[in-house]
Amino acid sequence: MSTTVLPPKETSGPQASSFAEHSPLRRLLSWEGAITALLIFAVLVASFGVEGFADSFNLANAQLDIVEIAILSLTLTLLVVIGEIDLSIASNLGMCSALMGVLWNSGLSIETIIPITILVGALGGALNGFLVTVVGLPSLAVTIGTLALYRGMAYVLLGDKAVADFPVSYTTWPSKTIGDLPIPYPTILVVVLAIIVGIVLHATPVGRSLYAIGSNSEAARFAGIRVKRITFWLFVASGAFAGLAAIIYTLRFSSARADNANGLELTVVAAVLLGGVSIFGGRGTLPGVLVAVLLVGVLRNALILDDVSPETLMLVTGGLLIISVLAPNAVTWGRERWRLRRLAQKAASTS
């Protein structure tokens, strides 16, 4: 009985409460608001404090640096929302990149290689999806396994060689910008994909069902949601996006190597969590993740321009990740304490 009296805010965290109460101040206090403010602050500091940051050439480059992270984060967001994880994305990218090298060496044209690469990436995702949904294994264990397997396949395919003689017309494509604007073509691709994924997640029944699965997959199943089918296809999509990211990565550096994007999965996971997606599933928004990806990109670029070693960036990435999970916890804790104190005061005044 008493549960019906409780306001919904209690069981939900800082993000969810911004949906419950739509006042602008509340929205600003949400995780997405906080991280957007942080991004604006970082951009302002970088453009005034770091020489060369606001340069349009640099801005275009900075975008290119996060294209793969952005693409991979789109599908990873969906997977984390349903309470799964895919750690094999960067290895899948490496495998697809190595495959591109092999296929190019065997004389295929780029136009044939591109669909094959995306297909192979999707197949890699399908294996993850099969093991998770049909065999019933935890996705963390499965994708740690395929992380090793796909990276291993990349080495088996290409060894420690590098294929670098891709046609110039294709390798210059990623760095071409639209007119004089500092917006390279891959950014357009990311924006289009982000809009599609964003609409699916936030404006369709399928998107709502993802949150249902993440909150309680058992209940979602009883509500008629095809949990396994959706999970499987999300893993396939994750693989296909890894294939797509592999194409951009390979062409951008004009180099197919087995160790391409080694360890990138952790940066993507960090960005998704920083964006406010709960690792337990059921909570988080795509705009939040995209802002987090931008924040990671800005910090990375500004620090490199400022002659901070790229390795020190690890300190920043790790610190940001921990703060990003600590901060909402602290906010919830503080709010809870405040609420309890207010309740105690009320009780004291009425008695």
Binding site: A148, L266, L315, G318, L321
Partner: protein
């Protein structure tokens, strides 16, 4: 065990029911030992097959090399087991190892410290890293996956920041220290002896100490463990500190074994460790598995690495084979767990149909098996009810209830 079951549920006195329960319980116990046995068989076959191609593979020197290669990853696998059994994970072990190894080398190069001090410093560094992880997981209640992903970056970043591109060479370290990494005592490499002693201590503790058993309880069901009065936070904290300290020690041993250290030492090593632990039969979602299994998993993976060289398979295949083996191991586990669950359910529903009032009997039998580590893994399997065959018989709800209480 049968005694206990019959005292708790006197209605289960029918010999037929008891026998069936006992066989189900025995199946669970067998399952736990099956993994270690299976690993030994796999190792035996691997050694046999490789020795057929090149008999030198089972020569003294070759065996010594394999054991040496296993010692460090085995040590980390033991530490990782403590954490994974509680349904957590520590991805920062590779970074902790790297940090500890570099600081050890740095102290030797710049300050000429005695060897004992190096060990103390390494272990303390590891323990401090473990304290950071432990506080974030146990006090701040952040999921371990996220925490250790973050600290993996943090500790590695600290390592780079300290190193500033510097490399420590064997010449900077005392020869007695380096001898520790390559020398032997009575024919067994020193590193292996250290690892074996710690493995023995950990195996004994996990099996016999109250706190060791409580780690399994936490992993099987954290909420139930809390309700049962287990100090969950404190246990988790200690598990992370121990894992950190072991990683710190492994860092010192790494420095002794390889002599050359820079900030990249053991990058990505955490995945090898997790692979070894999972291949060794420790369930990634906690509650089941042994440190001995994890160590055997580490031995199997490093033996495969050595065997590939002998079999003249390109070393490039090693990673792919590691991954495939991990997937194979967890798939097998899952299938075995499903079988055990079906056996349990069959005996439970039979018990329920003969004497309906005996419904609690199967539940009494299930906790009686709690001393066998497999209990957790079998209890885990039904969590995904969708995978289980739809129970068409009327006894299905009762068997569900028994599953629920077994968890």
């Amino acid at each position: 065990m049968s005694q206990r079951a019959s005292t708790i549920a006197p209605g289960a006195g029918k010999p037929d029911t008891v026998a069936k329960q006992r066989s189900a319980a025995a199946l669970l116990g067998r399952l736990a030992r099956a993994r270690e046995l299976g690993l030994l068989v796999a190792l035996f076959l691997l050694f046999g097959a490789t020795a057929l191609v090149n008999p030198k593979f089972i020569g003294v020197q070759s065996l010594k090399d394999i054991l040496l290669n296993t010692a460090i990853v085995g040590l980390l696998a033991v530490g990782q087991t403590l954490v994974v059994v509680t349904r957590n994970i520590d991805l920062s072990v590779g970074s902790v190892l790297g940090l500890s190894a570099f600081v050890t080398g740095l102290l030797f190069a710049d300050h000429d410290i005695p060897i004992a001090v190096a060990f103390v410093v390494g272990i303390v560094i590891g323990a401090v890293c473990g304290v950071i992880n432990g506080v974030l997981v146990a006090v701040c209640r952040i999921p371990a996956l996220v925490v250790t992903l973050g600290t993996m970056y943090l500790f590695r970043g600290a390592d780079y920041w300290l190193a500033e591109g510097r490399q420590i060479n064997a010449a900077d370290m005392p020869s007695a220290f380096l001898k520790l990494g390559s020398g032997s005592i009575v024919g067994i490499p020193t590193l292996v002896l250290i690892a074996l002693v710690l493995l023995g201590v950990a195996a004994w503790g996990m099996r016999n100490l109250r706190s060791g058993r409580e780690l399994y309880a936490i992993g099987s069901n954290p909420d139930a463990a809390r309700l049962a009065g287990i100090p969950v936070g404190r246990r988790l904290f200690v598990a992370f500190v121990l894992t950190g300290a072991l990683s710190g020690l492994a860092g010192v041993l790494w420095a002794a074994r390889f002599g050359t250290i820079d900030a990249t030492a053991a990058t990505g090593f955490e995945l090898n460790v997790v692979a070894a632990v999972v291949v060794g039969g420790v369930a990634i979602f906690g509650g089941s598995g042994t440190v001995v299994g994890a160590a055997l998993g580490a031995l199997l993976l490093s033996t495969i690495g050595s065997a590939l060289v002998v079999l003249k398979v390109e070393a490039l295949w090693e990673r792919a084979i590691d991954g495939a083996l991990l997937l194979l191991a967890i798939t097998l586990d899952r299938l075995l767990a499903l079988r055990a669950e079906r056996a349990l359910r069959a005996s439970a529903s039979r018990g329920a149909t003969t004497v309906p009032t005996d419904a609690p009997a199967p539940t009494a039998a299930a906790p009686a098996t709690a001393t066998t580590p497999a209990e957790g893994s079998a209890a885990h399997a039904p969590a995904d009810a969708a995978a289980a065959p739809p129970g068409g018989d009327p006894a299905a709800p009762i068997s569900n209830a028994s599953k629920g209480s077994a968890r």
